[in-house]
């Protein structure tokens, strides 16, 4: 399971392939990829905490929201330049998330999922009630500074961000730390019984997850140019993030990316044929069937297919 040269070659090929896309595909497709990139970032973030350690978060938009709102408020209300507000937003997500969720990390299993769901709901209600002059209340904020203009630039920016986050996460998870985090997901007591401080490990997983969520969330609002609490702290958004990670393959780095691209393109490609509510019905239905068929995700199915082909060839 160590690092091999072909791992890096594959990453390089993946990156090169991605960066070639603007030459091949129409701009509309690039726009779709941009959303897929952001979803991939959120799914990787979710997976760093939940996919690895098994602490399933149903309130991930809570973290994304801290990052998004911090930079939105700083740039919109205090005219802080984006270069400063985004790092601050990331820091705020890590610190804020830690303060609030630290006590929650001692809660296990389904209760952890529920408390994170409650956090998200609380944040949703508080954002609207407390200082609406800052948060924009229910309506949110619009006219935020955007980082790029045009599909191609947006594509390069989001792809670079997604690839660097994915690559860093992958490297980190390849180390013994990654092994230890996955071990927590399999048997938390046995990790403690191996002399490792589980609380500290969970904290690291959480901080890494918050870092990615905060960074993704902050850049995302500056891509969208607006922020709306109703779309952000929404159980449908949670659903999309979790399903992307799971459909792709939780506990891996490529899985969430694969899942994010699959879901985003599924939804976009249904649009010309089924513009209305049918689209979401099919989208959800496909997700449900895929998940029920193989909870380990597309990456596992693909691996299985490869193994079968190899067996057939041998």
């Amino acid at each position: 399971m160590g690092l091999r040269w072909y791992h890096f070659a594959l990453w390089a090929a993946f990156a090169a392939g991605m960066f070639l896309l603007p030459e091949i595909v129409p701009r509309g497709t690039l726009r779709t990829i941009i959303f897929a990139n952001f979803l991939a970032i959120f799914a990787i973030s979710w997976d760093t905490l939940s996919g690895r350690t098994g602490y399933v978060s149903f309130g991930h938009p809570f973290l994304i929201g801290i990052g998004a709102y911090t930079t939105a408020i700083l740039t919109k209300r205090f005219d802080v330049p984006v270069e400063i507000s985004i790092p601050l937003a990331v820091l705020m997500t890590m610190v804020g998330g830690l303060i609030v969720l630290l006590p929650a990390l001692r809660i296990k299993g389904s209760y952890f999922a529920l408390v994170t769901l409650a956090m998200m709901e609380l944040m949703y209600q508080l954002v609207q009630v407390i200082r609406p002059d800052l948060t924009g209340g229910t309506r949110g904020m619009s006219g935020l500074p955007t980082l790029t203009r045009g599909a191609v630039n947006g594509f390069y920016m989001s792809t670079a961000l997604m690839l660097s986050i994915a690559f860093t996460t992958w490297l980190l998870m390849k180390t013994r730390l990654g092994t230890a985090l996955s071990a927590i997901g399999m048997n938390e007591e046995a990790v403690a019984g191996s002399g490792l401080s589980v609380t500290r490990l969970k904290l690291v997983a959480f901080t890494a997850s918050a870092f990615t969520a905060g960074l993704g969330g902050a850049v995302y609002v500056h891509y969208l140019g607006s922020i709306a609490p109703r779309a952000l702290f929404d159980i449908n958004f949670v659903f999309t993030i979790i399903v992307a990670a799971l459909i792709g393959g939780a506990g891996t780095t490529i899985g969430p990316i694969l899942g994010a691209f699959f879901l985003t393109f599924l939804l976009e490609y249904l649009r010309p044929w089924l513009p209305g509510a049918e689209r979401y019905l099919i989208y959800g239905g496909v997700a449900l069937v895929l998940y029920m068929y193989q909870p380990k995700g597309l990456i596992y199915l693909m691996g299985q297919a490869v193994r079968r082909v190899r067996k057939g060839a041998a």
Binding site: P26, R31, Q128, P132, G137, T138, R139, L224, A231, G276
Partner: protein, 425 residues
């Protein structure tokens, strides 16, 4: 492996969307709400009529749709889809406020001529004031909410105070930016202008299940009537008002009461509710041209909404005006030319020899005399009787307990009278 599949399928879509010589109109809005459907169908009917008459500049118009699900992010994706995959020439929008705000940065980027038919958010008009160049392709053919609220204060003075004799009010406002804005206008306008004392402002959460404690609180203030400000889930508060038979009059803004389905959707638990509405509203007497539009509409569609909401009219007339502007400007490509041609569009509809409805836009310089500000690219409206410049920015409608609905204010447009629900003594 997936990458290749992905490339293959994108190539297919690319081929499918390679446009032939035609004018492409994109609809953005919810495809499953009455609001969204009103705009969509208004646009469809206008396109049908234009195509039957030979199209625009010799080309046929085609309509593509992008659903927003009333979700901001989906709205951004939808606009991008229309702009980049469908490469539309013109966008007609039935989006709600937040969704429009979400895709506006995209519109500024792509510079596609766009007409909003539902949102009345004054902040967008302010954007036109601040950035006339970037917002040149944008038009809103509904009176902005500030104009709506300003005329509404007159209703307070002329009806609530003068006719009903109400001296004091308790405001029940939802906890949204809209609620806050209207509440501000009411407390700063209604009280001083109409001479009605504001006893208390109660703000409620839009997820509220049970309004009983809130109504009790309102009753205990001893005010003469309740002023309701409710755009989200507004049927809940109004139907509980009816179910609880709250012994006070209630009026204000109730967005759900704007459609003809209100009666059916509330199962009749909506009598006595009154609300302001942009025009033409349900219960609004129509001029012959608009009446024909409604008749054709009802002949064509048999699902809800049975009667287009105000934005359906806006879409129908607005789309025709956008196409006329394109004829003048030689298409949609030269945005500046199209924008100034659009600004000059002016459609006057008369009823019984009186100016009844007017579809046109405020220019950059004209100052509206009552509010003393400009409304560039916003629909023309009139805030003073006898409404000979344009139609009033809004009317007040009231649902009676027998299920009929009519306009109660302004008097020039009224066809019924403001009454109290039967259980209010």
């Amino acid at each position: 492996m997936t990458l290749r599949k992905l490339l293959l399928s994108t190539a297919l879509v690319g081929v499918a969307s390679a446009a032939s010589a035609e004018i492409k109109v994109g609809f953005i809005g919810s495809l499953s709400s009455d609001t969204g459907l009103s705009t969509l169908r208004g646009a469809e009917m206008a396109i049908e009529e234009l195509n039957a008459a030979g199209g625009v500049m010799g080309e046929q118009i085609v309509l593509v749709t992008a659903d927003t699900q009333e979700d901001v992010t989906e709205g951004v994706k939808a606009y991008e889809y229309l702009a980049e995959t469908e490469e539309v020439d013109f966008v007609i929008s039935g989006s709600i406020d937040d969704v429009s705000l979400g895709w506006l940065p995209r519109m500024q980027e792509y510079q596609i001529p766009t007409l909003d038919t539902w949102t009345s958010y004054i902040g967008i008009i302010d954007m036109v004031v601040e950035d006339p160049e970037g917002m040149a392709p944008y038009f809103m053919n509904i009176a902005s909410d500030e104009a709506l609220a300003t005329l509404y204060i007159n209703f307070g003075a002329d009806v609530l105070k003068a006719k009903m004799g109400f001296e004091s009010v308790v405001v029940l406002a939802e906890d949204t930016a809209f609620g806050e804005a209207i509440t501000g206008l009411v407390t700063e306008g209604l009280a001083p202008v109409a001479g009605i004392e504001v006893k208390e402002v109660i703000t409620y959460d839009i997820g509220t299940v049970d309004f009983a404690p809130i109504f009790s609180k309102a009753e205990s203030t001893g005010a003469d009537f309740i002023y309701q400000v409710s755009s989200v889930n507004s049927q809940v508060i109004s139907s509980q008002y009816v179910k609880l038979q709250v012994p006070m009059a209630m009026t204000g803004v109730n967005v759900s009461a704007l459609g003809l389905e209100y009666w059916e959707d509330t199962g009749g638990a909506g009598g006595g509710i009154s609300t302001l509405s942009p025009v033409p509203s349900v219960g609004f007497a129509l001029d012959p041209v608009s009446q024909k539009f409604v008749d054709d509409y009802q002949a064509k569609y048999d699902s809800r909404p049975k009667m287009p909401h105000f934005n359906g009219f806006n879409a129908y007339y607005g789309l025709k005006q956008a196409m006329a502007a394109a004829e003048e400007a030689g298409g949609f490509k030269d945005v500046a030319a199209w924008s100034s041609a659009m600004l000059k569009q002016d459609l006057k509809l008369e009823k019984d020899g009186k100016l009844w409805l007017r579809y046109g836009f405020w220019d950059y310089d004209t100052v509206e005399p009552v509010t003393n500000r400009t409304y560039p690219h916003n629909a023309l409206f009139d805030l003073e009787a006898p409404y000979d410049f344009a139609q009033p920015s809004m009317v007040v409608i009231q649902w009676q307990e027998d299920g009929t609905v009519g306009v109660v204010y302004p008097f020039e447009y009224a066809n019924s009278e403001f009454v109290l629900p039967s259980w209010v003594k």
